[in-house]
């Protein structure tokens, strides 16, 4: 019955997969083309989009967004790292404090946190700064500082969790080896535990940074002049709302897209010593 089958070479076999792939490729390309066409012929006035894309206030907004994202990320990393280390110290009081911090800041919308920092004067009309004296809170709580504290402390709650998992990912034997060459806990952390935790911590931190870029847009609410804020100022005056929103979308997407390969190379670099 099947004695006559001779299939020495399968390269002539008709693969259904290829056919499906061609069909789906054509389908997807057609869909994308149709979408682009629909946007192009829509009510959106593209000359406004292209005009405002590189306008000075928007570029300043891009710079302000990057400045805030980087500053808040740095603050958040410092907080997160400190709290993760404190949490691992074993003191139950500090553990509870850290757990409470994470709960509070992860449990409320960032926008509320920003508004509360910005309006801290309602609670503390004056703040006493060591070595400087008492200042009026409203003078101190500029949009920049409020956004920095709001975004940084919120981010810190997430980074605490990331750092905690990074620290616990390092084998306990590494810490014991540190002890046996006379290192204190902090020195061991600095020289051995943290460098090793970095591998685990870098990918989620990269994701958090990308989230932070977009989160920065919330600080427009408290007058921090980032991209969205400056775009709003333009559309409040000229009513070209959608066009300016597309401009902001373009810039966020650009920043994020530029950062992704950076993240990739950073991860690769960190992993270098390991595999090679």
């Amino acid at each position: 019955m099947s004695a006559e089958i001779q299939l020495d070479d399968h390269s002539t076999i008709i693969e259904r997969g290829r056919y499906h792939m061609a069909v789906s490729l054509v389908g997807v390309l057609a869909f994308v083309a149709w979408l682009i066409h629909a946007f192009a012929v829509s009510d959106i006035e593209w000359r406004y989009v292209s005009h405002f894309l590189m306008v000075r206030t928007i570029m300043q907004g891009v710079a302000a967004t990057l400045l805030m994202a980087i500053s808040a990320m740095m603050l958040g990393t410092v907080i997160g790292l400190t709290f993760a280390i404190v949490q691992q110290s074993g003191n139950p009081v500090w553990k509870t404090v850290v757990a409470g911090y994470v709960w509070l800041f992860r449990g409320t919308p960032v926008i509320l946190q920003l508004l509360l920092w910005f309006n801290l004067a309602l609670v503390f009309p004056h703040i006493w700064i060591p070595g400087y004296g008492s200042v009026q809170t409203v003078q101190l709580m500029t949009p920049f500082l409020s956004a920095l504290l709001g975004l940084g402390l919120n981010q810190g709650a997430y980074i605490t969790e990331i750092m905690r998992s990074g620290l616990t990912s390092v084998d306990k034997g590494q810490y014991e080896a540190c002890c046996m060459i006379g290192m204190t806990r902090l020195l061991a952390l600095r020289r051995v535990i943290l460098p090793q935790a970095l591998r685990v911590v870098i990918p989620p931190l990269g994701n958090e940074f990308i989230s932070m870029i977009k989160l920065t847009s919330l600080s427009s609410m408290i007058q921090y002049p980032e991209i969205l804020h400056n775009a709003q100022n333009i559309y409040y005056a000229n009513a070209r709302v959608i066009e300016l929103l597309l401009v902001t979308g373009f810039w966020y997407l650009t920043i994020v897209t530029v950062l992704m390969p950076v993240q990739y190379f950073l991860e690769k670099r960190i992993n270098r010593g390991w595999s090679g």
């Binding site: 019955m1 099947s2 089958i5 299939l7 020495d8 070479d9 399968h10 390269s11 002539t12 076999i13 008709i14 693969e15 259904r16 997969g17």
Partner: protein, 271 residues
Amino acid sequence: MTATDIAAIPASPILEVRNLSKSYGSTSILKGVSCTLNQGDVMCVLGGSGSGKTTLLRCIAQLERYQGGSVVVDGELMGIAAAKSGRFYRLSERQIARQRLETGMVFQKFNLFSHMTAVQNVMEGPLHVLSVPPAEARREACRLLEWVGLGERMEHYPAQLSGGQQQRVAIARALAMKPKVMLFDEPTSALDPESVGRVLAVMKQVAATGMSMIVVTHEMGFAREVASQVVFMDQGAIVENAPSAQFFSAPSHPRAADFLASTLGARAQTN
């Protein structure tokens, strides 16, 4: 058990592998392998590490694509079919899934469904692929588990079973689909010595029901006792294919002779 059904089929080549060739990229893994398994026979596949035994079994089971040759189970060409034009086309995933019912496979690493109890593992195929009614599927699954000596452990999860117990559940799971050929890929090499004996005993039991089997193994005792035919592979080719008695008494290929000497020698040393 399934013995009666299978015994009813007249003895004839139940499996034919013709000129199978397979490569990953530019490295050739199987270089035109051909062999035939008769109904009710047990073929043992021997060979050194990396000689392509696992790959051969996986190609027969259609778990790998091969670049040349064909596999015919009980007269049915696997994985491909002739088009009217005279050319061949690849079968759809659904058709290949149906064809795989002809072969049962027991893996080196058991691969039991870890979120299901032993009896659920065995019932899974009959219930959801063959659409057997639940009560009947369970009854048959219990019978099979009893038969492999696990009547007491039916409601245990794989993580609660020893390696040998897991492998016996895996055999029961394969048998529950009533395949025409059973493929075993080093079923005992991940087990402790005690478990090995139990699993081999169950495999003998399966062979005794008249099941056609291909067994990749390093267990020479089992091969000598149970196999009707021994195939010896080296570097992706079958270099010797002989009746069991002949192979063990006088292997003709020098590689096979070497292999036999070293394996039996090592055994002798340990005992």
